[in-house]
Amino acid sequence: MAAIVFWYTFPLETYLPAAIVTARQVDTLFRFMSAAGSALYIFVAGYLIYFAVAFRARRTDPPDAIGVQIHDNPKLEFWWTLIPVLFVVLLSIVSVRIWYEILLEPENGLVVEAIGHQFYFSFRYPQINGEVTDEMHLPRGVPVTLNLTAADVIHGFWVPAMRLKNDTVPGLVTTIRFTPRLDGRYPIICTQFCGVLHSEMNKQVLVIEEKGAFDKWFKGWQQKNAHASNALPAAGGQAISLQGGNAADGQRLFSQKCEACHKVAPFDQKLVGPGLKGVLHDPAHPNLVNAQPATPPNVAAILQNGYTGSMGTMPNASANGLSAQDIANLVAFLATLK
């Protein structure tokens, strides 16, 4: 009884704030399971110890003394099968309800993207170019749809105060939805081993603040990133520098590595990939395969990161053996194709 009361009232939030709405429900689930679990455990361990003591062989017993030779007790076994089954049903109902609440968060909230890198998270917001690379800010009370992906290996995006995490998987976009409720600065922690500095990938914070402060922060980043490219940055966080690209070297690289799949011909003349004539000049040129407009930084990003999707696979820089300078050279060459 005491255990049940203890756990039911245990103030988890004093140790770890509940930063989002569903965090409190997760805490409730924890308290419910702890109450039930400790009651069960006290029951089991209690009887275990009690029987061990009460039925110990006494020194006065003859050496061949035996216990009560019962094999089973159908009535007892029936009850101790039925009660756990009922408990499992109850626990399922409670868990599914809370699971559903988490799932039910609005789908059209503020859409933010978090991208895992070795060894930090970057964030993309609508109407901010490029990426925010230090803190993640969110306004209190506004539902958020957080899309997660990674640039290199699997990371785990966890904010303990949210009681919610998801892995960031390269090549996949996963989504979690939640509504921030409590102002504060909450650590973001990587929970999926991602390489030698995985232990250090816990220095960033999620900042929840009231809308006015958030707007101010937002504008600050808009201005800061006004000239940033929207291309996915290369692994390691630096966008490719396209200065100093040598078109002649680029042409040589092109014939070595690209001509198997791309012709220097109009777009519709496909080999494996589209023809690349005019890719960086023709205003009517369609968007690149990843739906980005055909600008030099975006082309560079595809060369760096590759692409995998319903249209096929374009190998990335390491698959093609391209250095950053090679990419710059290729872009310079492509820029000469009018």
């Binding site: 290996v153 929970t191 232990s199």
Partner: protein, 558 residues
């Protein structure tokens, strides 16, 4: 099958000539008992090595900033620790070790179905262990025992060696599984129906199909990772069209049944020790046997509960959550049955019994935290944190390892003819129990408060409990060293045990300690369950076993 008459020249009567020479008797032995001992000794060697790695982990975690070893070395250490404990200690010890040692005698057989295959299975094991530890020389794997790609694709050469080593030990496991299934199906003594088999045999019978089927699935995953790393064949690399999540499906489809491989034989050991030292039958025999099979089967259906945060479609989380909850029911039934076995008993607190009772207390905690983890909303919070580390060590160390120690104190006299020292045993138990709980309980709240797993450094707010855990872990290590001293000393100097020091009733206790290589002079006939202490032994034909008479057909004349 259940014919009482002795077969004319059949396997049951066939006693081959005694092997001659040290090599044939103790190195390349076909005798399941020797092979079992070989497995146990080798697994204990790996326990020492892997335990050393564990203490490197704990020593590193004394300080929030680490400093004991370099980060990358630390990552290698915990990766090999986890891999070795699972594949080189617990699984071989419980299946190849205790399985081989005990159950063929318990079913009244002379050996397993394929003794030569058994010997091959054993010898693969130390080779693969050496391969795994050799990975330290070429850059050991660093991505944990789970080696998720793409990060494992980036790992040093040792990761490929890890793939090869685990693949090889998996081959050994699969062969053992096939061997055990056929042995139990076909070689039980006359009269031993399934409902008269000791529960340890049921534990092995539930485990063997898992060894056979699940391990092969892992072999495929490892082979794919290996050829991807070595030959660039893309299975898991997303930039080449592969899928990192697919590795997780393939890996966990094996590794969840693997955890049942690691616990079902342990359940079997506990189900033998508890009745013997309570002097009364195991409570609920049929339910325990049936629930073991149910757990083995259902174990194939819950793998994705390790993947709730991996990017699965949300609706898929539900069935895995519910089935995992459901597995808790047969497990709970067993726990209640074990507790009820103590009721009305005459309990003798030998060291084996202490470990068995301790198992019930500690495994229950692990089982309860497992149910917590099955609840998706809670798992979304604590997945990948020290809560998981706490849970797995409660079931594997508080569970499987405690059962292993119980089995050691119980069956050591049968195999060596001498008893382990009880005083040292009790010191071992209490020191281990205290050290263990001190090491692994705080991990549960450390995880909930924000400490992730697989980290060489951590937030200073967790420093006190990490230090507490490290000190407690040293107590555990000392207790295990005491056990080794006890074992080594008792082999020569232990009190002689005689055939049945515990007054137990299963077949292995009705023959000499240590048993003859042929186990039984005459295969007995079985006509009841062994657990009823008020009845005479339910066997016929054992009269000559404890006498000096020679075996009937020693030279295999046919």
């Amino acid at each position: 099958m259940a014919v009482a008459a002795v077969h004319a020249g059949g396997i049951a009567d066939h006693i081959h000539p005694e092997p001659q020479g040290f090599v044939r008797r103790y190195v390349f032995s076909l005798d399941h008992k020797i092979i079992g001992i070989q497995y146990i000794i080798t697994a204990f060697v790996f326990l020492m090595l892997s335990g050393l790695l564990a203490e490197v982990i704990r020593t590193q975690l004394l300080n929030p900033n680490g400093g004991f070893v370099a980060s990358d070395t630390y990552n290698e250490v915990y990766s090999v620790h986890g891999s070795a404990m699972v594949w080189l200690v617990i699984i071989p010890m419980l299946t190849g070790g205790f399985g081989n040692l005990v159950f063929p005698v318990q079913i009244g057989a002379r050996d397993v179905a394929f003794p030569w295959l058994n010997m091959l299975s054993f010898w693969i094991f130390p080779v693969s262990g050496l391969m795994l530890f050799s990975s330290f020389l070429m850059g050991a794997p660093t991505a944990g025992w789970m080696e998720y790609p793409p990060v494992s694709l980036q790992g040093a050469a040792g990761t490929s060696m890890w793939c090869a080593a685990i693949f090889l030990v998996g081959v050994s496991s699969t062969m053992t599984g096939i061997n055990f299934v056929v042995t139990i199906l076909k070689m039980r003594a006359p009269g031993m129906t399934f409902t008269r088999m000791p529960l340890f045999v049921w534990g092995q019978f539930a485990t063997a199909p898992l060894l056979m089927i699940a391990t092969t699935a892992l072999a495929a995953a490892l082979a794919a990772l290996f050829i991807e790393r070595q030959f660039g064949v893309p299975f898991y690399d997303p930039t080449k069209g592969g899928s990192p999540v697919m590795w997780q499906h393939m890996f966990w489809f094996y590794s969840h049944p693997a955890v049942y491989i690691m616990i079902l034989p342990a359940f079997g050991i506990i189900s033998e020790v508890l009745p013997t030292f309570s002097r009364k039958p195991i409570f609920g025999y049929k339910l325990i046997a049936f629930s073991s099979m149910a757990i083995a089967l259902a174990g194939f259906m819950v793998w994705a509960h390790h993947m709730f945060t991996s990017g699965l479609a949300p609706f898929l989380q539900l069935p895995f959550m519910i089935i995992t909850f459901v597995i808790g029911v047969p497990t709970g039934i067993k726990i209640f049955s074990w507790v009820a076995t103590l009721w009305g008993g005459k309990i003798h607190f030998s060291t084996a019994m202490l470990f068995a009772i301790g198992f019930v207390g500690l495994f229950t905690i692990g089982g309860i935290t497992g149910i917590f983890l099955a609840a998706v909303p809670f798992d979304l919070h604590v997945h990948g944190t020290y809560f998981i580390v706490g849970h797995i060590h409660y079931v594997l160390v508080g569970g499987s390892l405690m059962a292993i120690f119980a089995g050691m104190y119980y069956w050591f006299p049968k195999m060596s003819g001498r008893l382990l020292n009880e005083t040292l045993g009790k010191i071992h138990f209490w020191l281990f129990f205290i050290g263990f709980n001190g090491t692994f309980i705080p991990m549960h709240w450390l995880g909930m408060l924000g400490m992730p797993r697989e980290v060489a450094t951590y937030d200073p707010q967790f420093a006190f409990w990490n230090r507490f855990e490290t000190v407690a872990s040293y107590l555990m290590t000392i207790s295990i060293l005491i056990f080794f001293v006890n074992a080594l000393w008792s082999i020569r100097n232990g009190k002689r045990s005689g055939p049945n020091p515990w007054g137990a009733r299963t077949l292995e206790w009705q023959i000499p300690s240590p048993p003859h290589y042929y186990n039984f002079k005459h295969i007995p006939t079985v006509y009841g369950l062994p657990y009823d202490f008020s009845q005479p032994l339910p066997y016929k034909g054992l009269d000559e076993e404890l006498t000096d008479s020679p075996p009937p057909v020693a030279a295999g004349a046919h």
